[in-house]
């Protein structure tokens, strides 16, 4: 394989891992609560801004503000689910929670434009050289944020998989996702599970936002594309599958990066969406899906 393609492949894996992390939170929400959350991209954008401001006002290195961002996003997630979304969910009679979908669309528009008002339309990035430092492995170049992104994403994903598999709370989440009524008969309060799932989803988004900020600058509308991409990845990787989200993300990253070498990037994106349609059609439960659609 030629060097440029190899470089593109590894670049794709690196950014794909971060994409997977973005999708992870959505997979949790979609899988457990069965809702389409259009505001997911907007929350990622918020995570990026929080990270940006944290580096500016706390004068810390980007990677060091991560715990701070995660906590803030976790709290926002908890609050959003509890105060805003839950009343709507409770009222809806199962099957298609369309009101939540529309509500999240309104929230998406609101958040995008809130940040436009607060932060202005310009792209912004943290100060300093860290994002441009590179390491060399043979002929291949990797930026620090790429390495950090890959390592952090894998670690977080592993951590979450362990959490979901081994802890009581994790099992409660899985149970609620599989069969809400049966789980509540077993004594699991679905309301609390939803709040925690949503909060975890946003917490993970906090990590992803920090990593993304190392790779690209932020503007109020950056969440639009990546939110949509997250849906693609969730379906590719399989609903509710955390490992699947990471692998789906890496797959998408590779297609984008390698595809971008072989054709105009826009076509690579079209290819991703075409693949998405194909998976939806032939294997709707995704590559690693746990459940039937």
């Amino acid at each position: 394989m030629s060097n440029t393609l190899l470089q593109a492949l590894l670049d794709g894996i690196a950014i794909g891992a971060v994409y997977g992390l973005i999708a992870l939170g959505l997979s949790l929400q979609f899988g457990v609560m069965k809702i389409i959350n259009f505001a997911h991209g907007a929350f990622m954008m918020i995570a990026m801004y929080v990270a940006l401001w944290a580096t500016q006002y706390l004068n810390l290195h980007l990677m060091l503000v991560m715990p701070f961002v995660v906590v803030i996003l976790f709290v926002i997630g908890f609050g959003t689910q509890r105060v805003l979304i839950e009343p709507i969910m409770r009222r809806e009679i199962a099957r298609e929670p369309i009101s939540v979908l529309i509500f999240s669309a309104g929230l998406w528009i609101f958040l995008d434009n809130l940040l436009l008002v607060i932060a202005g339309p310009d792209y912004q990035a943290p100060e300093g050289d860290w994002a441009y430092q590179v390491i060399f492995i043979g002929d291949l170049v990797f930026t620090y944020p790429q390495v950090a992104g890959l390592v952090t994403s894998v670690l977080v994903t592993l951590g979450l998989v362990v959490f979901i598999r081994s802890t009581r709370l994790g099992r409660a989440i899985r149970a609620t996702g599989q069969d809400r009524e049966a789980a509540s008969v077993m004594g699991i309060d679905s309301s609390t599970v939803f709040q925690i799932s949503f909060a975890i989803g946003l917490g993970v988004l906090g990590v992803a936002g920090v990593l993304m900020l190392g790779i690209m600058p932020v503007d109020p509308f950056i969440g639009d594309f990546y939110g949509l991409l997250a849906f693609v990845i969730v379906v590719l990787g399989g609903l509710g599958s955390i490992g699947g989200a990471l692998i789906g993300g890496i797959l998408v990253g590779i297609i984008e990066s390698v595809g971008g070498q072989l054709m105009p990037v826009a076509y690579a994106h079209a290819l991703i969406f075409a693949l998405f349609l194909g998976v939806l059609y032939f294997r709707p439960s995704g590559l690693f899906g746990l459940e039937d659609s």
Binding site: L84, R91, S99, L107, I109, V117, A270, A274, P284
Partner: protein, 324 residues
């Protein structure tokens, strides 16, 4: 027809006639825009409201209509009226092509699939530089006063056309809802398996509804192109437009005749008022718009059409007033 209803229709007709005489250009443009989005919402309603299939890719049909008529005009000098028919036919075909695989999917999966289909179309058009102008879009040639070429310098021309379109869309919606076709669609919406078990061919009726909806939306696309005189992939085929159409219809009350129109008549002027009230600060008006959407869906899940019912219920003694 009952007396209040007849009186209502006469009042509306009178309003429609009087409006262009009393409103200036700026306000007329808002009215036209609101009616236009109402027309789109009414078109979406056929498949999204009555049939209950949450299509989030309707911008595809819109864009096909807009690009078809504009490309035919720009490259071959064909009148957009004819181009509109061609565009509508093409949109109908697209609805069939997209619907065939997508309708096997349910609920959120169908929604995401239609979203993806529209995105693919947007990307493809964005890269068609020679024929379709690429990301810079297409400019409709300025013909000034040319009604035979679907263009005029005055607003009245467009006002009359859009009023006719909206009236037709309302009539179509009413016809569908009160027909056996609409009955089947409602059955499919409520429980597709049960309907199928009773012998309703779900796939066939969903496709019919999709094609009708697509054709209507495509016509809207041509109107937009001829009104604004410029189309681009981002505006005409973007997911933002698809979501907006669905939001307007659902906020107004999906599945009803007047709901989709009400949604547009509320939200479009509200957006404009918001822009005026915030002095044009970028983003402020859309913030209010998003907040309005959230508030309406939170308290009126059935849409704005529920408002009179809700108000009446709170006046009746003994009612708990809880929304069901």
């Amino acid at each position: 027809m009952s007396l209040p209803k007849t009186a209502g229709y006469i009042a509306i007709a009178a309003l429609i006639l009087v409006l262009p005489m009393i409103l200036g250009n700026y306000l007329m443009s808002i009215v036209i825009l609101a009616l236009f989005y109402g027309y789109l919402a009414l078109s979406w309603n056929i498949i999204g409201g009555i049939a209950g299939q949450l299509s989030l890719g309707h911008a595809a049909y819109f864009g096909i209509g807009a690009y078809c008529s504009t490309a035919l005009l720009v490259h071959f000098g064909i009148s957009p009226w004819l181009g509109m028919i061609a565009g509508a036919a093409l949109s109908g075909v697209a609805a069939l092509v997209i619907g065939l695989p997508c309708f096997r999917l349910r609920g959120p999966y169908y929604a995401l699939a239609t979203l993806a289909a529209a995105v693919i179309l947007e990307v493809l058009v964005q890269n068609a530089h020679v024929t379709l102008g690429g990301p810079r879009g297409l400019n409709v040639p300025l013909l000034r006063d040319a009604p035979l070429f679907f263009q005029h310098t005055g607003k009245l021309f467009y006002y009359v056309i859009i009023v006719i379109f909206v009236a037709a869309a309302l009539a179509i919606n009413h016809w569908v809802i009160s027909s056996r076709f609409g009955y089947y669609l409602t059955a499919i919406k409520n429980d597709q398996e049960a309907a199928a078990a009773l012998g309703v061919n779900a796939q066939k009726y969903k496709l019919k509804a999709a094609v009708l909806s697509g054709v209507m939306t495509g016509i809207g696309g041509t109107f937009y192109a001829q009104y604004v005189l410029y189309i681009s992939p981002h505006e005409a085929l973007g997911s933002a437009l698809s979501v907006q159409i669905a939001v307007l219809c659902i906020i107004g009350g999906r599945g009803t005749v007047w709901g989709p129109l009400l949604g547009a008549l509320l939200l479009l002027p509200a957006e404009e008022i918001g822009r005026w009230a915030t002095g044009g600060m970028p983003g402020a008006a859309m913030m209010l718009y998003g907040a309005l959407v959230m508030v309406v869906i939170r308290f009126l899940p059935g849409g704005l059409v529920d408002l009179p019912r809700l108000l009446m219920r709170s006046r009746t003694t003994g009612e708990s007033g809880r929304a069901v």
